[in-house]
């Protein structure tokens, strides 16, 4: 069942030095994410969560440290990772190609990797969309559908590659509360069906507790892991779970940790990068 990949981040450090002003985004950050684990990362704005995600995705290299995928070196300063379809990203502001229909978007991955002929890829895409309850919008351009549906379609596009790791950078940030809960349900179903390893960044603590197997609370910049919360709630989960005492307790614990870091960040005048 599990086909997700295990990620091991060891002493990851990233220093941005654009014009002499050294900014340490990640400072000896280490985390072990199990195969098929749903890992949610929370922390103050601009703390370096996205930097870590980008390093795993292969969008930029580390200044020091290593990232391993299934025990194999993925990224180190001397051998930076390149982006690949085993680690697909769902972007903060959405990156469905606006000039392709939803079906073409979903077919893009398998076609690009030469796994399928364009025609087969299109058929497979329609099947994927069908499974995910998105077949009505298969022939629409992204500009025509609601932002919530766009996010789900982008997740469908990512899953069409059957990645080992799904990286999501605050995917539901701009959605209204109602659309958000439906989107959570959607992501949970996708996760329960395929069990990829998920690396999910968010600011929303309810979202974090509801989705995660474990929540990683990050410190303010430079980011390291401050606290790891186990979320031993059974799956599949239902949205009513959020009201349960267990959930409330976890949320309070999480909030205390995040708040302490947010206050620190606030006092040194950090801003969103």
């Amino acid at each position: 069942m599990t086909r997700g990949g295990a990620i091991s981040v060891r002493g990851a450090t990233k220093v941005y030095d654009p014009d002499g002003a050294r900014v340490i985004a990640l400072d000896h950050c280490s985390m072990e994410i199990g195969a098929g684990e749903f890992c949610v990362v929370v922390g103050p704005s601009g703390c370096g969560k996205t930097t870590l995600l980008n390093a795993i995705a292969g969008f930029h290299e580390l200044t020091a440290g290593e990232i391993h995928l299934n025990g194999q070196l993925l990224s180190s300063p001397s051998q930076p990772a390149t982006p690949g379809s085993d680690r697909v990203v769902v972007f903060q502001n959405g990156a469905l190609f606006p000039w392709m229909t939803i079906a073409e978007n979903v077919a893009f991955g398998p076609m690009a990797q030469n796994k399928l002929e364009p025609k087969q890829a299109k058929e497979a895409a329609l099947e994927t969309l069908e499974t995910m309850g998105l077949s009505l919008i298969a022939n629409d351009y992204p500009g025509r559908i609601s932002s919530g549906t766009r996010r789900r379609a982008e997740i469908a596009r990512a899953m069409a590659c059957h990645p080992q790791v799904l990286l999501l950078d605050e995917p539901f940030r701009a959605l209204d509360a109602l659309t958000k809960t439906v989107s959570h349900q959607f992501l949970m179903e996708v996760y329960d069906r395929e069990r990829p390893t998920i690396f999910f960044i968010t600011h929303d603590l309810d979202e974090a507790i509801f989705l995660a197997s474990r929540v990683f609370v990050m410190t303010t910049r430079p980011a390291t892991v401050k606290k790891i919360l186990e979320v031993p709630l059974p799956r599949p989960r239902d949205f009513r779970l959020l009201a349960s005492p267990d959930c409330q307790r976890l949320r309070a614990e999480c909030q205390a940790a995040v708040r302490a870091e947010a206050l620190k960040a606030f006092s040194v005048g950090e801003r969103e990068r």
Binding site: A57, G58, F59, T82, P83, G84, S85, R87, V88, V89, F91, N93, G94, A95, F97, P98, W99, M100, F108, G109, A112, Q113, M132, G133, L134, S135, L136, I137, A138, N139, D140, Y141, P142, G143, R144, I145, S146, G148, T149, R152, R157, A158, C161, T179, V182, Q185, F186, E189, D238
Partner: protein
């Protein structure tokens, strides 16, 4: 639970797939119909009529000194649609169409060349930094040189008049196309490139599926500007070196004191120019319908 959730998910999707896939001609027809159904045609006619009346008043009725030498609208139209034109140019003469045809051919050739070279070059410059590092300074020096400054070199370079006119016309439109194609790539969100790489796209696929369609809106803006420049440059070229063509006709009629023909040729240029621009715009809207739909919301 699962079933109701997925049901509500699909219900959120908009039903635009019901819209028929419309072709270029159908789209043109629909736009024309919509335009005729609105109040716009009457306002358009009113504007045009006002201009004609003013023109008539200034040149014929009042004979204002500034305008006294110019042909009036009636004189022009009479000549334009005459079976036996005084100066030999009307819609019933073959020569009129020879001038139009040759001008169109020159613009078409030059525009084709400028597009064929300018678009790929601009896209490459926007996509690959090394490529733009090589070419950008050169481009920035050559681009501001007014087309007219090229005339002597064009005549020296090319064997015949024809090729030098096409060359000048080409220059006029080339830089606008190049620059807009370059800007078009620059306008593409970095996230699309990253997403494509994540999904396993090769460089050539990124060029075909991201760079090319992503830059398309700017490319077509560029083409519209460039076809305007092409007509501008063409007339200058024809006035200087032509034997035929609307620009030549204007200059020749001036020398031969055939003033109505000047205005006929000018108005013809205006019409042909509008049509060429309209054609490009329609093609652009057709190819970029994903964008039209987006902004249409």
């Amino acid at each position: 639970m699962t079933e109701t959730a997925s049901h509500s998910l699909t219900a959120l999707a908009s039903p635009s797939s019901i819209l028929p896939k419309v072709g270029l001609l159908a789209r043109l027809g629909r736009n024309l119909g919509r335009w005729l159904a609105s109040s716009n045609p009457w306002l358009n006619l009113l504007g045009l009529g006002g201009f004609l009346i003013l023109w008539h008043l200034l040149t014929t009725t009042l004979k204002v000194p500034l305008f006294a030498k110019l042909p009036g609208p009636w004189e022009t139209v009479k000549e334009w649609f005459s079976l036996n034109p005084v100066y030999g140019i009307s819609i019933f003469t073959l020569e009129y169409y020879q001038h139009i045809g040759l001008s169109c051919l020159r613009v078409f050739l030059a525009f084709l060349l400028a597009t064929g070279l300018g678009v790929p070059l601009g896209l490459l410059m926007g996509w690959k930094k090394t490529f733009s590092d090589y070419s950008f300074p050169l481009l920035e020096i050559l681009r501001p040189i007014p087309m007219l400054a090229w005339v002597p070199l064009a005549i020296l370079m090319w064997p015949g008049r024809e090729s030098s006119i096409v060359f000048l016309t080409f220059l006029g439109s080339f830089f606008a196309t190049l620059l807009n194609s370059w800007l078009g790539v620059k306008s593409i969100d970095e996230a699309y490139f990253r997403a494509a790489k994540c999904l396993g796209a090769s460089e050539s696929l990124i060029f075909r599926k991201i760079v090319w369609p992503g830059a398309m809106p700017y490319v077509f803006t560029g083409l519209q500007i460039s076809v305007g420049y092409a007509w501008f440059s063409l007339v200058a070229g024809e006035m200087l070196a032509g034997e035929f063509g609307l620009g030549y006709l204007i200059w020749d009629s001036y020398i031969l004191v055939q003033y109505p023909v000047i205005v006929i040729a000018m108005l013809t240029l205006g019409l042909v120019g509008s049509i060429s621009s309209l054609l490009i715009r329609s093609l652009g809207n057709f190819l970029i319908r994903w964008k039209v739909r987006e902004s249409g919301q």
